[in-house]
Amino acid sequence: MTQSVVVQVGQCGNQIGCCFWDLALREHAAVNQKGIYDEAISSFFRNVDTRVVGDGGSISKGKICSLKARAVLIDMEEGVVNEILQGPLRDVFDSKQLITDISGSGNNWAVGYKVFGSLYQEQILEKLRKSAEHCDCLQCFFIIHSMGGGTGSGLGTFLLKLLEDEFPEVYRFVTSVYPSGEDDVITSPYNSILAMKELNEHADCVLPIDNQSLFDIISKIDLMVNSGKLGTTIKPKSLVTSSAGAVKKWHQRPFDAMNNIVANLLLNLTSSARFEGSLNMDLNEISMNLVPFPQLHYLVSSLTPLYTLADVNIPTRRLDQMFSDAFSKDHQLIRADPKHSLYLACALMVRGNVQVSDLRRNIERLKPSLQFVSWNQEGWKTSLCSVPPVGHSHSLLALANNTCVKPTFMELKERFMRLYKKKAHLHHYLQIEGMEESGFMEAVSSLSGLIEEYNQLDATKSMPVEDFPRLSIAV
């Protein structure tokens, strides 16, 4: 089995990361009742004998002594990382895994990328190499960051090129939080577009998320929880938004609930690689199946169900509902409507008590209402993992390579152009050494190129599907 390393960059990245580690521990604790350090846990955690000073404490088998996350935490401000180190997860990280600074990036991609990039390059490489050395067989880096700010956006994407050069065989999966429409950072369009170019060129797979969609999902759940409908008591731990332990009042710390959704996304994405099942799906299969052309590696995700009702019998109808929901625009983690756009490929990763016949039945049921590109009419990748998430009997993660990402990119480009035309705030960027206007132009053109590829695919939507003439053989 392989290992993965999580690199969390910036405030958003680290807050999501923190939720991820919390839920990962909870999941493994639920599955691994005997406390033995097995291959599943080793995918994200090291087992360390804390009595040993220095680096030699790794234990590869036997009882769990002390689990350490395979993570590198990077932030150019100290606040968030300090909070993590003082919180309940402080023993899961050690100081050797952190890179912090004090001044922050001022919501400026150029500061994150150019200034801190060159300042911390060596340190970052050193920490990454160390974490790779601790892995028996490193398969994937998971990078978590936001696009709209300075550190996550700038330093987070600077990392990608570094990873590509230093670890060319290791996959780079990026979870990127895109700025919503009412984002309060004025320069977020600049930061996002500059970051997008790096994602286009150096990421293997990107899972775009936006806060508005996450917020809408929590509102939906809240409505269900508080509606008090007869017979709809919800199992507390089953909320896709809930943390380990008691269900917190989400409106006190709304980001926690939202971050938990993203954390669950990452757990479900890796579940079939960590746990057994009748049809396994490893991380290298995600890229293989969902990325038909190198540039088109943006995957829209949806998680269902959002909660589990407390009644024990799950009629088939409810199971089928789970599949239907995965395709509804209300369940996507980014504002997108895959049903009314064109699918290039779709992956269905199922967990729990679901069998292949349920999967096949639902694919056949839903297929007529979905549009797939002509050369991939049966573009389904499926997996069945036996272990359900905590609090659920079954769950589904759908990953769609679909032209419905296009509107997000187009809006981003529009917001960028509105600022750029007036040269608003541009001087903050251009005064950074190494930044020139050409950098902006290249970034926009990279994005335009991507949008154009989606446009061309969309143009084929209404065309009739024709078979290409086959090779003719002389008999």
């Binding site: 009748s278 490893d282 290298n284 293989m288 038909p292 069998q355 016949s357 002509s374 050369w375």
Partner: protein, 453 residues
């Protein structure tokens, strides 16, 4: 003579377990419906073919387990060991950590050469345990990366290293509605390579097995375990011992050799399909009785009309009348399509086998003109009943069974290839577009050959 099984990838290993389990369970079945001496001879023959002995008496499957990631093989090994009835050899397993990522090129060009020595050594050890080797049975899927790519590589190696032994590949065809997005690429690459290095390709389609589970076995929530058990039952009904000569009590010694000799007269035609009858849930079995006449009539019609199971058979289809041009030459989409055979093998097990009338299968209208029916058709028999069936019949056919599915897969792969989608994932590991084109050419040739029977 013994058969060494090589189980590759998740599919191959999951199926392999069910196959050995079915073979073992049947050979120790108390309701053999024959004399004790007969039963013992049957058991001994089954054992010689598929199991070797270990000190504490638990039979060890003659198998090598290969996978590029550890979860499935460790599950398979422990499931067998836990049963307490048979097991896999402790050191018969080779696995790695990373998997093949559903990438044929990765399985073939990276894993293959890298692990060639280790895998071939394991196989060698298993071969050395056999007094006499009949050949290899390789179980793999076409849709993924390890079974397909590494499977093709290993088969090629077997051809080089054991040129005198036979190789039969048991290949699983994925669901038509898509299990793996690049399944059609992986399939054409696998099939074209195996066509050059394997002696026979025994094909099972997930769609067909699924229908059998749903319609005949009445299973509501079908799991892969159910599907694999149906498959294992079909394989068992073919590979369990049968008499070598009509009326004797001695069991056939070289099952693979005999099978190839009977069914693969020409290297251009290697694709075999299995049908069996009856197939039903245990509950229904208790209420059913069968006659050989009834079973064989259905089986013959299943052959002629290319029906996948004993339900929903199209009784309208008839063999062509002599003197008229055969219908096989027409397009693949015709309605009353008669399934032309090159060769057929029927295997009968159970009560009163010698009274079964196989005349219907000897009709020359069923076969191409190259072989006399006496050569094109063979029958194997044994009194010993199989599994819980008082009477059962299996058909292994080299006919147009797989023509349409093959054509469909080639067509879909071609459409995807024309758009160049996913090609970069393969060229990353040393493959070129030429390799794809070679595969397409070879398979179009196979399609044309079967079409023109």
């Amino acid at each position: 003579m013994s058969i060494v099984t090589v189980q590759l990838g998740q599919c191959g290993n999951q199926i392999g377990f069910e196959v050995f389990d079915a073979l073992y369970t049947d050979s120790h079945c108390p309701q053999g419906l024959c004399s004790k001496r007969e039963n013992e001879a049957y058991q001994a023959s089954c054992k010689e073919r598929f199991f070797s002995e270990e000190e504490n008496g638990v039979p060890v499957a003659r198998a090598v387990l290969v996978d590029m990631e550890p979860k499935v093989t460790s599950q398979t090994l422990s499931k067998a060991a836990q049963s307490g009835r048979w097991k896999y050899g402790q050191h018969s397993c080779f696995c790695q950590k990373q998997g093949s990522g559903n990438n044929w090129a990765y399985g073939y060009s990276v894993h293959g050469p890298r692990h060639e020595e280790s895998i071939m050594n394991l196989i060698q050890k298993e071969v050395e345990k056999c007094d006499s080797l009949s050949g290899f049975f390789i179980i793999m899927s076409m849709a993924g990366g390890t079974g397909s790519g590494l499977g093709a590589f290993v088969t090629q190696n077997l051809q080089d290293q054991y040129s005198n032994s036979l190789k039969m590949n048991q290949i699983i065809w994925p669901y038509g509605t898509g299990e793996v997005i690049v399944q059609n690429y992986n399939s054409i690459l696998t099939l074209s390579h195996l066509y050059r290095s394997s002696d026979a390709l025994l094909v099972h389609e997930n769609d067909v097995l699924h229908k059998i589970c749903a319609k005949l076995m009445n299973i509501k929530q079908i799991s892969f375990s159910d599907i694999n058990q149906v498959l294992a039952h079909q394989l068992g009904s073919v590979f369990q011992p049968t008499y070598s000569v009509e009326g004797s009590c001695h069991y056939r010694r070289n099952p693979l050799g005999d099978l190839m000799e009977n069914l693969v007269p020409h290297p251009e035609f290697k694709m075999l399909g299995i049908r069996n009858i009856p197939q039903m849930s245990e509950n229904s079995l208790a209420y059913s009785t069968f006659t050989w006449a009834g079973l064989l009539k259905h089986l013959r019609q299943m052959l002629i009309s290319n029906s996948k199971m004993e339900e929903g058979i199209d009784w309208q289809v008839r063999p062509p009348l002599p003197g008229l041009p055969t219908l096989g030459k027409a397009s693949l989409n015709r309605g009353l399509h008669f399934n032309m055979s090159i060769a057929n093998l029927v295997i009968l097990r159970g009560k009163d086998v010698h009274s079964a009338d196989l005349g219907g299968f000897k009709d020359s209208a069923l076969y191409t003109s190259w072989l006399e029916p006496i050569n094109a058709f063979n029958a194997w028999k044994t009194h010993r009943a199989f599994s819980k069936y008082e009477k059962s019949a299996a058909l292994v056919s080299n006919s147009q069974f797989l023509l349409k599915p093959l054509d469909t897969i080639v067509g879909k792969a071609w459409n995807m290839f024309a758009s160049k989608a996913y090609i970069h994932q393969y060229t990353k590991f040393g493959m070129e577009e030429e390799d794809f084109l070679d595969s397409f050419t070879l398979l179009e040739q196979v399609v044309a050959s079967y079409c023109n029977l």
